[in-house]
């Protein structure tokens, strides 16, 4: 363990509602959703119709551009409904869960596998889309071999699930997953301390990230300090969740996407962990929220998670649900009130610095109107990357490909600049701007 990365910049948002380290229950949902919208760059083609029987691991959707890439059902049962949105966009395939049967992909020892066998098994089982390719954060291309594979073994996002607690029983599976992926490309794993349970993983280059603040746990930040992505290069990233699923696939031969999900947030009546699978409906969290309060259900964390609504389904890459109140109350003279002790600000313009330990019941109010960029030095303080965030954002707004390249569009995903968006006094939607820039790059560079 010699590779240390020291990161000083960043910010931990002191939001209340951290999950208690206990497993509350196992959710066996009636209905599970397969959502193609969780996967950037996946254009879905249906492989089932309503009423079809599926097993856990049966293909449900295929990618139009690359039909080898499949999404499979996480449970066995019957296809109940195909949900479409505007312009008939396919939003989800709902599977009514019945029985416990699964497709057998055949248990294999990952140590003896070849790269082609690993790829083939991942494609067939529907786990290939768990690999995210950078730049742009899209589906990985099976025909390409990446420069390297990066894994962050800890999360610093607000109220994120505790990796050590969540993956306590999955260490062998994660190891098997890493061994399998290492057949395709060199794997780099970032841990947050040398005593971490993940610091003993084999078949990977380990890096210790010495940092106390978000976004040090973001894999994008870690990559930029290990080996920045330049034009023409591709890397893959995998989460521990994905590695655990891949490991279980090779060890048991079956698709098993069950995970411990942290139920968090200031609007959660009860916090803790539940065992659930992606696509679990939020209605299964009954008792954790107050139906009388207008609550926002976020699959993921408050910075980059998705607002899925109370009728939504847990996202594929998430092991966290955050519940926060919609902030529609209008504070009188809020901007002028010198005290405002119940509002957090990272700046010294309010007095929240007097209460460093306080946790805040944050809501979704923007606390101000949208303006042009005025302040220039607040953004860099929360971004531990060698990037000028405002310049990158302005290049994206202008749609200037050359400037976007120059200012590092290949290195970032929206989540990496989420804190810039949080602290922005001008209230711009920075993550959406970056995503638009990335979409433009994909279109222009194709």
């Amino acid at each position: 363990m010699s590779n240390n990365i020291v990161l000083k910049k960043g910010l931990n948002i002191p939001i209340s509602g951290e999950a208690a380290l206990e497993t509350m229950r196992t959710i066996a949902p009636d209905v599970v959703a397969v959502k193609p919208t969780d996967f950037k760059g996946f254009s879905p083609r249906l492989m089932v119709k309503e009423g079809d029987k599926v097993l856990a691991g049966s293909p449900v959707l295929a990618d139009k551009q690359n039909p080898d890439i499949l999404l499979t059902s996480p449970v066995s049962g019957t296809v109940k409904e195909i949900v479409r949105g505007e312009k008939r966009k396919l939003l989800a395939v709902l599977v009514k869960a019945e029985g416990n049967e699964a497709v057998d992909f055949g248990a294999k020892d990952p140590k003896g596998l070849k790269a082609e066998e690993v790829k083939e098994t991942l494609l067939k089982s529907g786990l290939w889309p768990t690999i995210i390719q950078r730049p742009y954060g899209v589906l990985a291309n099976p025909a390409q071999t990446p420069k390297a594979v990066f894994v962050s073994a800890f999360s610093t996002a607000p109220l994120a699930a505790d990796s050590e607690f969540v993956f306590k029983d999955d260490l062998a599976a994660i190891q098997a997953g890493i061994t399998a992926i290492s057949k395709v490309a060199k794997v780099h794993v970032c841990v947050n301390s040398e005593t971490s349970a993940f610091a003993k993983l084999q078949d990977a280059v380990l890096h210790t990230v010495i940092a106390k603040k978000h976004p040090a746990g973001n894999v994008g930040v870690q990559i930029s300090h290990i080996s920045p992505i330049m034009k023409g290069e591709t890397v893959w990233t995998l989460s521990l969740l994905s590695l655990a699923a891949i490991g279980k696939l090779f060890l048991n031969g079956k698709l098993d996407l069950c995970r411990k999900v942290a139920v968090t947030g200031p609007a959660a009546l009860k916090t803790g962990y539940v065992v659930a699978m992606p696509g679990t409906p939020m209605s299964a969290l009954e008792g954790c929220f107050d139906p009388a309060v207008e609550t926002r259900f976020i699959s993921g964390d408050v910075l980059s998670g998705e607002n899925i609504g109370k009728d939504g389904y847990l996202g594929f890459f998430d092991n966290q649900v955050t519940l926060i109140k919609e902030g529609r109350e209008r504070e009188v003279l809020g901007w002028a009130n010198p005290l405002r002790f119940n509002q957090f600000s990272s700046s010294m313009a309010y007095f929240s610095w007097l209460l460093p330990k306080k946790k805040y019941n944050m809501d979704t109010n923007t606390h101000g109107g949208v303006r042009a960029f005025v302040c220039s030095d607040v953004y860099g303080k929360v971004l531990p990357m060698d990037i000028f965030p405002v310049y990158l954002v302005k290049a994206c707004l202008a749609g200037d490909i050359d400037k976007m390249e120059q200012f590092g569009i290949y290195e970032v995903l929206p989540e990496d600049l989420a804190l810039c968006e949080f602290v922005d006094p001008s209230k711009n939607d920075i993550q959406a701007i970056i995503q638009d820039g990335i979409d433009l790059m994909i279109k222009e560079m194709a």
């Binding site: 920045p228 330049m230 901007w335 600000s345 700046s347 979704t364 042009a372 989420a418 922005d424 939607d429």
Partner: protein
Amino acid sequence: MTMEENTVKPGLFEKGGKLGWLHSTWDAFDTFLRVPATVTAKGSHVRDSIDIKRVMIIVVLALVPAALFGMWNVGYQHNLAMNDLPGFWHQFWWGLWKVIPLYLVAYIVGLGIEFTSAQIKGEEVNEGYLVSGMIIPLIVPVDVPLWMLALAVAFAVIFGKEVFGGTGMNFLNPALLCRAFLFFSYPSSMSGSQVWIAHRCGADAITGATPLSYMSEGMSSISNAGYSFWNMFAGTVPGSVGETSVIAILIGAFILIWTGVASWKVMVSSVAGALFVGWLGTAFGVTDVPAYVQLVMGGFAFGTVFMATDPVTSAQTECGKWIYGFLIGALCIVVRLFNPGYAEGMMLAILLMNTFAPLIDHCVTSSATKRRAKKVSIA
């Protein structure tokens, strides 16, 4: 009250309502009184409680000590010239009534244009002018005719800001542009020794010249005119309304640096630049005014703290801020040393560096890009 507002808003002022064309104006007052009820639609679901209104109000607060001192000093200088010292409160009231009209003109004209242009564009009203309007009366001579001020404010807001798209898009500091307009259009009301004391009424016994106007004649001349380092530091000398007291300005600087609203890097490097050139000046015998005296004369302190640090028009990169600030300080003193006709270099130094700030940033960002490319090719 709340009920009434809730029923009035959608009917009258919403787009399509009877007074819908006043939507921007309504919205400005409405959000001024109460935080808007908007919730996050995209991206981060929670947001920091700071907004541009808060940023601007902090700058306004930081300017209050300089403004209050300026009001007193206007009265004090007048009484001094009339050889009649009726006491602190009397002087303050006298100065207050001289300065209030300047504020009224600056805010009514400036905000009027801001509201109108927001109305035309159908956008929300920007808060930036709250600060510009607070600064403008502080950087002009107290006796400037109000119609001139109105004209200058209109020019600065329209051509310095609105034509570029409003606060955040301008590249010149609007308050300084206002002063520059006055200076070049009406030099006789803006410089010389006649303008700095209100209602001199033929009190010719006292010249009323600012310490800076003795700069070219050397330190002994400044001392002979009765100006010492300490009374220039305290601010009991003639000058523009708010620029004289370094103590009041330092209180403002403390507020700005503490809250992080203004960049300490720009302030520190500007002082460093001024000291460096001031020292060169004495070392090469150009002047015998010590470098540290330069810091308390004229508009240097006010410009460094409140105008060089304007986040929109200063350099945007952290490294660029050091260069930008240093050059402002250095240029200001260069003008003072080599232009005896008009010794106040701060205004032009900042405006010049405002135009160069994008170039500085360009150099900083492109060298960073090159550095990164090199780092990668090695790894």
